[in-house]
Amino acid sequence: MTIETTAAGILALIAIMTAVTLLTRFGGVFIMSFVRINPRIESFINTMASSVLIAIIVPMAVSGDAGALAALVVTAVTMLALRKPLPAIAAGIAAAGVVRYLA
């Protein structure tokens, strides 16, 4: 099944993408509304939440170039040292730029 990328076709494709994305935005909350929240579920939710971050970042670091790795390492070190997000993020981005410039 394909849609031609005519003007109308593109509108249809955008509508499909919007619908699928909306499903992901609403779906988790909708399902949770049938789940009784007890301490075990709460514990699952909280651990899962920060694990989302790790599961995004680690493959990014492993599959990325030296610049990506430098960005994440510098962000981590700065964040642990200063405990302030904005300087940590800025340092990380700068590190990626510098490493890629030198590479």
């Binding site: 099944m1 076709g9 955008i14 909306l22 935005r25 609403f26 699952f44 989302v52 993020i89």
Partner: protein, 249 residues
């Protein structure tokens, strides 16, 4: 379910404050949006179509992947599968906010979710770990991120040449660095560190051996499983009104 009395009041002043708090990071989102606008026009989308897509879809990674699949025609099911897989992390992100969202009326609850994206979610989830309830950042922060994404796309489709290579400036790492800073700023306990290790290993395994774009959900669920089986003995604060039986260690 509890009888409808929705206790969470969104404070307009705080919504405004969160809008401005995420303004700096939104400037980077503008750069991303510009990169997307450029990519979209190069694949043959008209400027207004690219801007419409950013306005209604508002999920950068999946939009890049979608225009990568663009041609004279597009297969529907693969497109849906890719968009769903990349955005399936929203399912978990939304679920993790449910303890707060349940205190909003359904209209507001699902209205807020329209603006749910990585950066504002990361802040809200992290503050929730430290015992603060902040849904205002989803609304105010989400609004500024959404506007930045639209403005960026608009800039990209018309003035794409200005930012040929966002990677050379490290701009592709903004979100990664942001999310990492959020993770490290949160509460760390042995339980959390074990969960992170499991999440890291599971996501890497999924990234290597499972279909593309499943690694976030796999890693997050694996980390969550640690929380499910390993309960923290917390000196319960007042605000977490635990309903029902719930086994306590």
């Amino acid at each position: 379910m509890s009888v409808a009395s929705y206790s969470y009041q969104l404070q307009p002043a705080k919504v405004r404050a969160e809008f401005f708090r995420l303004l700096p990071i939104s400037l980077f989102v503008v750069a991303f949006g510009a990169a997307f606008g450029l990519a979209a026009t190069q694949k043959g989308l008209q400027p207004l179509q690219a801007i419409l897509m950013s306005t209604t879809v508002f999920a950068g990674a999946s939009q890049f992947a979608a225009v990568d699949m663009w041609g004279s025609d597009v297969s529907i099911l693969p497109l849906m599968a890719v968009v769903f897989a990349i955005n399936s992390r929203h399912l978990l992100m939304g679920a993790s906010l449910y303890p707060m969202l349940k205190d909003l009326s359904p209209g507001k609850r699902y209205g807020l979710l329209l603006l749910l994206t990585d950066a504002n979610w990361a802040i809200s989830a992290q503050e929730y770990q430290s015992g603060r309830r902040n849904l205002e950042v989803i609304l105010g922060g989400g609004l500024v991120l959404w506007l930045a994404w639209i403005v960026g796309t608009w800039l990209g489709v018309y003035f794409g040449g200005l930012l040929q290579d966002p990677k050379s400036l490290g701009l592709d790492m903004v979100l990664g660095c942001f999310l990492l800073a959020m993770a490290l700023g949160g509460k760390k306990s042995p339980r959390v560190l074990v969960a992170w290790t499991v999440a890291a290993l599971a996501s890497l395994a999924a990234w290597k051996w499972l279909p593309p774009n499943t690694h976030v959900v796999v890693g997050a669920l694996a980390g969550g499983a640690i929380g499910f089986f390993w309960l923290e003995h917390k000196p319960d604060a007042a605000e977490s009104e635990v309903e029902g039986e719930g086994e306590r260690p």
